[in-house]
């Protein structure tokens, strides 16, 4: 899969001139396909249908930051005026556990949860790389990525707000939210995805027959399906690379972030051996471990003193798509931007192309 991909930069980079090259640039005919993992459309809708009317904005950002309340942020002044901005207002709904047609399930002991700080996330992708390494996630190649079948369990959703000539980027790492009212679990006909007593949405690879209904019903679309045999079972050196604590998935099976259940289990075994509860900070997920900005925090939300419980109780913390009542265990700390008013937004010099 790796052979034949990319271009040899050493054709223009020599040891005499390792950092610059002199030459001419010529426009070629035809098109070159670029593999991206996000959709980028311009918002051509009129104001009546929710657009800006101009066509210079990103459709995805207009939707995510506007009515959907997926990305919530405030400037410093706005925060000072409304500290509870992340959970106030019609588009900033929060989960109400008292509203339910049936009794809430009780989670008494450990209740695993995660907090992701959107202030700190720089979009460096280290979390994604570490997740790949930890969980034996397969590489699918450029052609499959172009169809949309990349296997990232954790992705960084990027929304470009404002005029596309000088947008503001919002970064949101998105992985399985381990919803208490998981919509994926209800629709699996064979029961391959179930809820553990500690609140993890468990994916049982052995039981999955691959109907993909769970992926359709997941509003966060964090479930990844092995459409073809992506895992390489043949190459010997890859066998050394893999994490022996995690199954290597074959074709036809659904997979997703597991809150590094292998690390949770390892910590619980150690705690059990020593006859004590699992302490805060003992379980570090792969993404948490790799993040240079410590944006990801993981732990037991039933333990009020744990870091994650305190972060989740913060007034800036919110759940994505809370109005769907999925009751996710991952909360996001909304960003507060401290902008320098003297730095103006760059004027639009080039209009983005139509598309």
């Amino acid at each position: 899969m790796g052979s034949g991909a990319g271009f040899n930069a050493y054709l223009i980079r020599s040891s005499d001139a390792p950092f610059y090259a002199v030459g001419t640039i010529r426009k070629l005919d035809g098109k070159w396909g670029v593999a991206i993992t996000k959709s980028h459309y311009q918002d051509h809708r009129s104001k009546r249908f929710g657009g800006q009317g101009g066509g210079n904005n990103s459709l995805e950002a207009d939707e995510a930051i506007g009515e959907r309340g997926i990305v919530r942020y405030a400037t410093l002044d706005e925060y000072k005026a409304h500290p509870g901005f992340a959970n106030e207002g019609e588009t900033h709904t929060r989960t109400d556990k008292s509203i339910s047609l049936f009794p809430n399930w009780d989670y008494k002991d450990n209740a695993w949860g995660m907090s992701i700080d959107m202030n700190s996330c720089t979009g460096c992708n280290a979390c994604i790389v570490s997740c790949y390494a930890e969980n034996n996630i397969p590489i699918v190649g450029k052609q499959q990525v172009r169809v949309g079948r990349n296997m990232q369990w954790l992705r960084i959703d990027t929304y470009f707000e404002g005029d596309l000539a000088a947008p503001r980027a919002h970064l949101q790492p998105m992985a399985c939210q381990h919803c208490e009212n998981a919509p994926c679990e209800q629709v699996c006909p064979v029961g391959a995805t179930v809820h553990t007593p500690e609140g993890l949405n468990a994916m049982v690879y052995n039981r999955c027959v691959g109907t993909r209904y769970c992926s359709n019903n997941c509003p966060y679309k964090v479930r990844r399906f092995n459409f073809l045999l992506y895992a390489d079972y043949e190459t010997e050196s890859l066998k050394l690379m893999r994490n022996p604590d995690v199954t290597v998935r074959s074709r036809g099976v659904m997979e997703k972030c597991s809150y590094c259940v292998q690390r949770i289990a390892a910590a619980k075994i150690e705690a059990d051996k020593e006859n004590r509860p699992v302490g805060d900070g003992e379980i570090v997920t792969a993404c948490q471990q790799a993040c240079p900005a410590s944006a990801i925090t993981f732990g037991n939300i039933n333990d009020r003193q744990s870091k994650v419980a305190k972060l989740q109780a913060d007034e800036r913390s919110y759940q994505v798509l809370a109005d769907l009542n999925t009751r996710p265990r991952t909360k996001y700390v909304a960003a507060v931007l401290n902008l320098n008013s003297e730095l103006e937004r760059a004027p639009a010099e080039d209009k983005p192309a139509k598309g």
Binding site: E60, D157, V190, R207, V209, R212, Y220, R251
Partner: protein, 471 residues
């Protein structure tokens, strides 16, 4: 209706101005002879062979595509994240929907004592069974690991695990298997008397033995007829809620999910009406060539075509109401999810499919089916039936694909493009259906003779004086 038409056309009953249900002048003997001759003749028409050859090629293509699918995986199709369901589910719903008209004609019209349904009920029911055969393979082949498909059935496994009954796909398993079973049972029971006729009239040893066995010794005893009639009525009465429930359960595949565009309570009636709409279109697509080729114009008359057109008009309006409600609710609900979904469905990158849908399903049929002249025009109705079938396929395409590819999180928006394997499998199922239907036409009596006999003038019980006066 112009009086000149009344005078000229012997098939129009002058008293009512309607086409007669069966052409006059037929007797028990002539009806029996006409229908059994198609099956019992040793000479298969060349046209049958030609069409069977084409259908067989398409069915072979289906087989090859499925083998490649099992070898490589569902990735050979166009499905992806977020559009993880594509042609397979669209075709599944389309075929099951088509099947529903057969049951409606056999069962519901029987309960409503609509005698015109007698000539078409048998092959409509056959259409149902073959449509369910074509539909039933899709839930199996669309799985990532189809060799484990038996896990969807509740059986005591060594791991003591059971299926999960809250899932609509589980409900599908029960609904479709019940539908298939009851359809076959109803169809077979309906054919018992005719198998008796075939047994008594066939000349070759093989035919006699075959029909002898399947007729189970039917001899027309009055007592047997009474129990038979009761069983038929009961089966019809059971098949009616079955038809309504099966497509409701199929609609639950979508309605129980959270996606905007899927999660809506209009789906059960909308799907059932749509199923009947497309099913009647398929019955027309089959009936018109059949009556032409086998000279059955006396038994399948313009009245049938007319009535089927009326049913399509009615169900087409229910479908139109469903579409209208979706649009209305996307505004009235003040739900941003719904509003965006509707805008995207109409004006997004896949918006073209919505307008094809509206044209084929609403614009063309609902404006033309009002006209009696067009409803009884055989060429027009044939073309219209194809248009409605295509339109109903697009309806499922719009529902499945446009709701999936742009849902809640804009970061996960994608697209959908079908591959050649998707098309091969779809065309292949059309070939399989045609091949099975041709086999049915050749080997089994396609019009229920015993029911037609009840409609002939010879079946009227005359008082003794009148009978003697006639002698």
């Amino acid at each position: 209706m112009a009086t000149s038409e009344l005078k000229d056309n012997p098939r129009i009953d002058p008293a009512t101005g309607e086409y007669s249900v069966i052409a006059p002048g037929q007797t028990f003997g002539s009806v029996t002879e006409k229908i059994t001759r198609i099956v019992l003749t040793p000479h298969t028409p060349q046209g049958w062979f030609a069409l069977f050859g084409v259908a067989g090629c398409a069915a072979t293509m289906l087989l090859m595509a499925i083998i490649w699918l099992f070898l490589k995986g569902v990735g050979i199709w166009g499905i992806t994240q977020p559009g993880a369901w594509g042609f397979a589910i669209i075709n599944f719903v389309w075929w099951i929907g088509i099947g529903h008209a057969g049951t409606l004609i056999s069962a519901i019209l029987l309960l409503f004592k609509q005698r015109w349904r007698n000539s078409i009920s048998r092959f409509a029911e056959a259409m149902t069974i073959f449509a369910v055969v074509c539909a039933g393979m899709f839930p199996l082949i669309h799985m990532g690991r189809p060799w484990l498909g038996y896990w969807l059935f509740p059986y005591p496994s060594t791991m003591t695990v059971w299926p999960q009954f809250r899932s609509p796909l589980m409900w599908d398993v029960f609904a479709v298997s019940t539908y298939a079973t009851i359809s076959v049972v109803f169809w077979y029971v309906g054919m018992l008397p005719d198998f008796g006729t075939m047994r008594d009239r066939s000349k070759s040893k093989i035919a006699q033995q075959f029909y002898g066995i399947v007729s189970l010794g039917w001899r027309g005893s009055a007592r047997h007829w009474m129990r038979y009639e009761t069983a038929s009525l009961l089966l019809a009465g059971l098949a009616t809620p079955l038809v309504l429930s099966v497509h409701t359960v199929i609609s639950f595949d979508f309605a129980v999910a959270m996606l905007p565009g899927w999660h809506t309570t209009i789906f059960p009636p909308y799907f059932v009406a749509g199923a009947i709409y497309s099913g009647f279109a398929m019955v027309l697509t089959l009936a018109i060539p059949l009556r032409k080729f086998y000279h059955l114009e006396g038994l399948i008359t313009e009245r049938h075509i007319d009535n089927m057109g009326k049913v399509m008009l009615a169900t087409g309006f229910i479908v139109a109401y469903g579409y209208g409600m979706e649009v209305f609710m996307s505004w009235y609900s003040a739900s941003h999810w719904e509003a965006f979904m509707m805008w995207n469905r109409m004006f997004g990158p896949m918006g073209w499919s919505y307008w094809v849908l509206v044209t084929c399903n609403l614009a063309i049929p609902l404006t033309t089916l009002w006209s009696r002249k067009l409803r009884t025009s055989i060429p027009f109705m044939f073309c219209l039936s194809i248009v409605v079938n295509a339109g109903m396929w697009f309806e499922r395409f719009v529902i499945v694909v446009t709701s999936l590819y742009r849902d809640f999180l804009p970061s996960s928006w994608g697209t959908y493009r079908a591959t050649k394997w998707d098309y091969m499998i779809y065309v292949g199922t059309l070939g399989l259906f045609t091949a099975l239907f041709l086999l049915f036409v050749r080997l089994l009596p396609m019009i229920p003779m015993s029911e037609i006999r009840t409609m002939l003038t010879g079946a009227k019980i005359m008082p003794k004086k009148a009978a003697e006066a006639g002698d």
